[in-house]
């Protein structure tokens, strides 16, 4: 990345790092439907620096586009909307290449069934039920992520359809530190054995990092308690007292490092367990059935799993980072060095396993680079896989629906009913007659059918349907902007495989200012 590029993206590299930025640059995004919602979502992704984009849209520019689509220049009435929006969107970022196809997506797929194969993400904006079902099925089978985004009157809806999504860097807040106090690795064990805080004077004691203080008193404790760490409340308090006493060597109360040791004392009895999200990854069938075509994630996950259980006594690779501690530089560096060296060792063992797995599948060793291996070792505790829900199976999880506030969630069914209505009658509810309420009764029966199909006995009041008719499928720019902001954000998470994405649907009610996610 050259200096200018780095500077262009510096405010976001803070969030997803150079690796995330590289993933974005290597990605190819397809937008179906270049309406206001679609172009705004694409705009956000182009600004973020995706590699390329393709706009698929077979419509021509109408008056209504001028009313809400920023990326259509004046005087383009009746021109291809794909072309017009492409022209303005590609100006946003010189580092992103783009193209357009002024054809319907179904037409394209008919002549070129592999059309979507090259894309890393497809965004569908305000798609009709017919198209979204078709596209949804195609992408689901190919495991290409699809983000559906709708701006319908004052309501926005975002849905991620992705058969299997995997995340390496979860960026989980407050992840516990990886100290391994319960089973120190050999080099650390050696340091603990040779450490004797009792023989230090108060100046030397001030230099000891809190982790070493904990480890030292834990050693003492274990000697006195036949190798059993503090377990009960009383024992834990006793242990903390040991640390407190140790800090009393100082004339004027405890030193900062002893205070830190006191407040982090729980690491002495904390067990380094494999988090459930990682176990789910390890148990996933993809981990066992590696083939040439497997995603690199599964090679990495499998190697980490094998390392964990065969080489490391059921422990994940050491993260090799320590938090800041108040201590002398030399002492701190020495401790950090031990953790880093051990982590490097683990990474190289994982790396050997990755190479071995690749060879067995007939892939070259450099198929996965060392940087990726290092990243997965550092982040092994945040690995997670998300099994999605296909559009055809949305009804299967109805029992899980327990969304609060319930009003927001009613819109999910209403929007579904509106698409159902549009598919059956060829127009959106509220636009059929001069009086928008002319469609109300028909819409009501559509909703009943939808609810029945989804085996739901949910009661939805008429006022929702009246609102829906009033909306008349209008796409208000500011609502579209909100919806597309969320859709693009999720797109970035999916493309970078960083942060856990929306799982898997979200309604925004801009009337009440609420947005709630749920899993369908």
């Amino acid at each position: 990345m050259d200096g200018l590029t780095e500077k262009r993206y510096e405010r976001q590299i803070q969030l997803w790092g150079v690796q995330g930025q590289t993933s974005l640059r290597n990605s190819k995004v397809c937008l179906i439907n270049a309406d206001a919602t679609g172009t705004e979502a694409l705009k956000n992704l182009i600004l973020a620096g995706v590699g390329s984009f393709t706009i698929v849209d077979d419509t021509t520019v109408k008056e209504v586009d001028y009313g809400n689509n920023f990326f259509i220049a004046e005087g383009k009435l009746d021109h291809s909307r794909a072309e017009c929006t492409y022209e303005l969107l590609q100006e946003l970022n010189p580092e992103v290449t783009g193209n357009f196809i002024s054809e319907g997506v179904l037409t394209i797929l008919k002549t070129e069934p592999t059309f979507f194969d090259k894309f890393s993400l497809v965004i569908g904006a305000n798609l009709t039920e017919r198209i979204l079902q078709y596209v949804g099925r195609d992408l689901w089978d190919k495991n290409i992520p699809l983000i559906l985004v709708f701006a319908y009157g004052m309501i926005a809806y975002v849905r991620i359809v992705h058969a299997l999504h995997t995340v390496v860097q979860g960026h989980v807040d407050n992840l516990p530190h990886d100290f391994q106090c319960d089973a120190p690795f050999p080099a650390l064990k050696k340091l603990i054995t040779t450490t004797d805080l009792d023989s230090l004077d108060s100046t030397q004691l001030r230099d000891v990092p809190y982790l070493l203080i904990i480890l030292f008193y834990l050693k003492k404790w274990l000697e006195l308690h036949s190798g059993r760490p503090p377990e009960t409340r009383i024992e834990k308090d006793e242990f903390k007292k040991l640390i407190q006493e140790g800090g009393k060597k100082f004339s004027e109360g405890n030193e900062v490092n002893f205070e830190e040791a006191f407040s982090f004392a729980f690491y002495a009895w904390r067990r380094s367990e494999i988090p459930s999200n990682v176990l789910e990854v390890f148990r996933h069938p993809c981990c066992d059935s590696l083939t040439k075509k497997s995603d690199t994630f599964w090679f990495l996950a499998r190697a980490v799993r094998d390392f964990t259980f065969y080489d490391n006594n059921g422990r994940l690779p050491l993260r090799g980072v320590l938090p800041d501690m108040t201590a002398g530089t030399a002492n701190y560096s020495q401790l950090l060095l031990l953790y880093q060296q051990e982590a490097v060792k683990h990474a190289s063992m994982v790396s050997a396993r990755v190479h071995n797995l690749l060879l067995r599948c007939g892939l070259p060793e450099d198929y996965i680079d060392d940087e990726e291996i290092k990243t997965i070792c550092e982040n092994s505790a945040t690995l997670k896989c998300f099994e999605g829900t296909s559009l055809q199976h949305e009804e299967a999880r109805l029992d899980d629906f327990n969304v609060q506030p319930a009003e927001v969630f009613s819109w999910y069914f209403c929007l579904k009913a509106a698409r159902f209505f549009q598919r059956r009658y060829g127009h959106s509810p509220g636009t059929g007659t001069s009086n928008y309420l002319g469609d109300l009764l028909t819409l009501k029966s559509c909703l009943a059918e939808v609810l029945n199909e989804m085996k739901s006995n949910r009661k939805i009041e008429d006022e929702y349907l009246i609102e829906l008719c009033r909306f008349g499928a209008s796409e208000i720019h500011s609502v579209a902007a909100c919806a597309s902001g969320i859709a693009a954000q999720e797109g970035i998470k999916v493309l970078t495989r960083q942060f856990y994405p929306l799982n898997n649907a979200l309604i925004v009610d801009t009337v009440t200012g609420q947005a709630v996610s749920f899993r369908v």
Binding site: Q14, Y66, M154, S478, A481, C482, Q489, S517
Partner: protein, 612 residues
């Protein structure tokens, strides 16, 4: 069909359709949110918009401020934003001001021209100012901000809602000079020091950026007096002058800043009674510190590594030489995080100093984030917030103000499932607010024997209480002590407060004509005792004062060690300030959310993510 018809007619709201085109809107700020707002207004059918911004375009704006392109870098934001929008639409009138909103031209009458003001600002003092202007002009204000993934939109309407200053914001604190110069304890202290060192050696002279030991450290006082051995600062001539005399010889510079000055600090024994003393480092010694924790680890990019002292010393020497050359034929250099030698110099010096004080060292990347005030800012959050801002604009026009409760964009939607949460109702004004209540009062704590009237005016009335051109009258005596008329009270400037009769218990009536703002200031005499005590404090709400004094809390100056906010202001982007963050958005209930309103991109930094 016109835009406003799309928006309104399709929603069957003809009154809105008529209101939109004739409503005059002011957008304050043409940055991340401002660009989005301007676009949304344009596509909603607004036809009469004015936009003001002082800034010019920077490359790092381009990842989100979509109205700007590479070729616009260096040009005024407001002007380019206007031009960009105008190429898309011909039926909108936009007036752009490349100017500061603090300028006296934008007085009450300016604000009164607008139906509605939309804030898209990046700093608190401008937000405070626009808040007051809108209160004074009685124009509704939609206030918004984002920081990384989080954000907020709120309506401010005089008498109906809380104003921007009704709830005390987390206090921002600049580090006391003596912490920077004598007793750093956090990486950020060393980084601030290193930037000051750069300015002392190569930059424009600024006496507030002294890097040498500070002999007026309150901790050095014995029985309230400075011991006689410490008089005046160590240096008798300026650092710059001295550096020029020795021709910027790296070895000599190094020994002065990292050995001699540290030895001098060690002689101030009081400082090290309760904290770990620093270890001086000579040029020769630095070359023995080869062993390093992660230098061999070449798979990490050099920017991410923590360099050895030897390497730091090497960089120090190289960059001093380079910067010295750059200085030839120039009066001074301006520090820029994107200027490699300047950035390298600061990273090296900060790390050497950190080592000396047993403070964790940082990678160049981390130092750059802190030193350069790089705060995450992304297009997606701005798009969402700006969309909501304009939807609120509709409601304000329809006079549905009660339908505009504050909305919060939550940082982490994954865990709670709630991405946007809104208050259940408008928050009523704080009856004791020192800005919007009918008789605003504030308690100020200062050392009336030490603070000059000039300092009082600048530090307290302007910088802290955010006034622009205050006049102050000593109550009861009717004496004008501070006047906004040039020269009228100049004679008072260097007088101590007590010399003009301002003592403990005095009451000042302060009036800012521009902001149409009158404030009663109760003076309390106060002396900074503890090391980190601020030189002065203020309490906005006398009833708060009572409870706080009872609890022994210091005016909420809670400084947390794990998060910082950096306030960027044009004159000094160097003041690193701290705040406690409280992103507690649990539940979307009606309970008041005690959260810190996220400031926009340039105002809030959560360094935690960056350093660790």
């Amino acid at each position: 069909m016109n835009c406003q018809e799309v928006v309104a007619a399709e929603l069957n709201n003809t009154s809105l359709a008529q209101l939109i085109p004739k409503s005059k809107i002011l957008v304050v700020g043409a940055g991340g949110i401002g660009c989005e707002i301007l676009k949304n207004l344009c596509l909603s059918g607004f036809q009469d918009v004015e936009i003001i911004d002082l800034d010019t375009i920077d490359v790092s704006n381009l990842n989100r401020q979509f109205l700007f392109r590479k070729e616009h870098v260096g040009k005024p934001k407001a002007v380019v934003a206007r031009e960009s929008v105008m190429t898309f639409t011909s039926n909108m009138k936009i007036k752009a001001y490349h100017d500061s909103i603090f300028n006296q031209e934008y007085g009450i009458n300016f604000f009164k021209r607008f139906k509605l003001v939309l804030n898209a600002l990046d700093n608190r003092s401008a937000r405070n100012h626009v808040n007051r202007m809108c209160l004074a002009a009685d124009v509704p204000l939609v206030e918004s901000g984002t920081a990384g993934y989080s954000g907020q939109v709120e309506l401010i309407k005089k008498g109906l809602t809380q104003c921007y200053e009704c709830q005390p914001k987390p206090q921002q604190r600049s580090f006391p000079g003596c912490t920077i110069r004598n007793t750093p304890s956090e990486p950020v202290h060393c980084i601030v020091w290193a930037k000051h060192l750069f300015n002392q050696l190569f930059g424009e002279d600024d006496p507030d950026q002294d890097v040498s030991p500070d002999t007026e450290d309150p901790e050095l006082k014995k029985d309230g007096e400075f011991s006689t051995t410490h008089t005046g600062d160590v240096q008798r001539k300026s650092t710059r002058q001295w550096a020029e005399e020795i021709n910027y010889e790296p070895e000599k510079l190094f020994n002065k800043f990292f050995k001699d000055d540290i030895n001098y600090l060690l002689s101030m024994e009081n400082l090290w009674k309760t904290r770990k003393a620093p270890t001086p480092l000579s040029w020769e010694e630095s070359h023995l510190c080869v062993s390093n924790i992660s230098e061999e680890d070449i798979s990490t990019s050099i920017d991410m590594r923590i360099l050895s002292l030897q390497k730091c010393a090497e960089i120090f020497s190289d960059t001093v030489t380079t910067l010295k050359k750059q200085l030839v034929n120039r009066k001074f250099l301006v520090w820029d995080k994107d200027d490699k030698p300047a950035m390298d110099f600061v990273a090296a010096c900060a790390n050497i100093r950190a080592h000396i004080f047993s403070i964790p060292q940082k990678s160049r990347f981390a130092v750059k984030s802190i030193a350069g005030n790089i705060i995450p800012a992304i297009a997606t959050a701005n798009a969402l917030i700006a969309g909501l801002v304009v939807l609120y604009a509709f409601r304000v026009l329809k006079n549905e103000l009660n339908k505009c409760p504050t909305i919060y964009l939550r940082q982490k939607s994954v865990y709670s499932k709630v991405l946007l949460a809104a208050d259940n109702s408008l928050q009523s004004p704080n009856p004791n607010c020192y800005v919007c209540s009918s008789k605003p009062v504030v308690d100020v704590f200062v050392n009336v024997f030490k603070m000059t009237l000039n300092e009082f005016e600048n530090e307290i009335l302007k910088n802290t209480l955010n006034m622009v051109a205050p006049d102050a009258i000593l109550d009861g005596k009717g004496v004008v002590v501070i006047s906004s008329e040039e020269g009228e009270t100049q004679i008072n400037n260097n007088k101590k407060l007590n010399e003009v009769g301002i003592i403990d218990g005095s009451i000042l009536k302060v009036d800012d004509f521009l902001q149409n703002y009158e404030l009663t200031v109760n003076i309390n005499h106060y002396e900074a005792k503890e090391k980190d005590d601020p030189p002065f404090k203020f309490v906005a709400n006398p009833s708060d004062l009572k409870t706080k004094q009872e609890n022994g809390v210091n005016n909420g100056v809670n400084v947390s060690t794990d998060s910082y906010t950096t306030q960027q202001s044009s004159d000094d982007d160097d003041v690193v300030t701290c705040t406690t963050e409280d992103y507690d958005y649990e539940a979307s209930s009606s309970k008041r959310r005690k959260m810190n309103p996220p400031e926009d991109e340039d105002d809030l930094i959560i360094v935690e993510d960056v350093i660790n």
